[in-house]
Symmetry: none
Subunit: 203 residues, 2 copies
DNA sequence: GTGTCTATCTATAAGGC
DNA sequence: TGCCTTATAGATAGACA
């Protein structure tokens, strides 16, 4: 009911007061905090994706909102970078007790089967990593219009992007990827069965 | 006070050409790439810290440089956020097995993890086995079309069948299957990481 | 939660130390 | 690597839909 703020007919209305500087301290008003969280999280992920592309870096980001909701960013995926991190941790930790890792008849406190399992795991992780490094994952990142602001980064993996939103010609690269993926899975399946079904494992 | 910087009359020394726009694509010159990596990594971490403070969020960032060096940022620390992530993944996957697995900030003890790992293996193998048979049955049912009379093919698994022969609308079921598969693989990888890192977890 | 708009504020590319 | 400077590109607070 206040005419001074509603008329847009004659007066060119200043739509915004513009950005203002804020102190870096907890935003108390929960509504504003939520908005800022959303915006800055997206900004953070965008920065991360740019870093990945510009510098060929791998990045994993985990963000837990105050409400407890979890958001992730990963290039090429969260797991590969996580894997690298965890393995390094492990390496740092065991650097003294295990300098020669391929001791087949070793006396570690893990059984031989465990070692093989772990080896298989690492192999899979490595394969996944290689797979995504092949290049097209990058295309996916760029394709998602990361630079335009209209992107959806809730997908941890490139293949999580809904197919429905892809144009037909875009299906081809994805098809290739899926083929490679399933081949990977298939080969793993064989090995996995080997381990699980026959404890004699390999020669 | 400094005449060289106050007026343009005497010495017009342009100290910099200023920032220029760059395309978001891999920087080829390694020296420039390294500099950019450094700057942007710091910028990313700063943004992250601001997000944490402003919104009371938890963040973990892992960055692996092309040279393989690993940088991390964490608030309150990398491990706590990581734990939250891993536990959630694990929780999601074992949602039916464990009724109270949301021990945020902690990891399971080793023996329990070993048990879980074994169980995990069996579960994966079983699921894959089911998936395989289901897929084969499916394939068998809609036989005759793209396989001709030759359904005695060399494909061990349904997902080995060439996608080329599928019509577009047929991609959806396959997509679903692949989603299930990759979710399985993803969960498996994450659990593995958790296990690998068991002796290195925080505190 | 998302998108839009504007007026700022901030990050950073390039070059040098 | 770290630390300048400059000129500018990019991010975003605030208000609204």
């Amino acid at each position: 009911m206040d005419p001074t703020t509603t008329t847009t007919t004659s007066v060119q209305k200043k739509k915004s007061t513009g950005r203002k500087k804020i102190a870096i301290e907890k935003i108390e008003r929960s509504e504003r905090r939520q908005v800022t969280f959303s915006k800055r999280r997206m900004g953070l992920f965008k920065k991360a994706s740019e870093l990945c592309i510009l510098c060929a870096a791998e990045v994993a980001i985990l963000v837990s909102s105050p409400a407890g909701k979890l958001y992730t960013f990963g290039y090429p995926c969260v797991e590969s970078t996580l894997d690298r991190f965890l393995n390094q941790q492990q390496h740092d930790h065991h650097i003294n007790m295990n300098n020669n890792n391929n001791n087949v008849g070793g006396v570690l406190n893990v059984s031989m089967q465990d070692q093989q399992q772990q080896h298989e795991y690492n192999e899979i992780a490595s394969l996944l990593e290689q797979e995504k490094k092949r290049g097209e994952a990058l295309e996916f990142l760029k394709k998602g219009d990361w630079s335009g602001g209209n992107y959806n980064n809730n997908y941890q993996f490139w293949w999580d992007a809904p197919i429905e939103n892809l144009e037909f010609h875009e299906l081809n690269p994805m098809k290739t990827k899926l083929e490679e993926l399933r081949n990977m899975v298939a080969s793993k399946l064989v090995v996995d069965h080997n381990i699980n079904n026959s404890s004699c494992s390999r020669v």
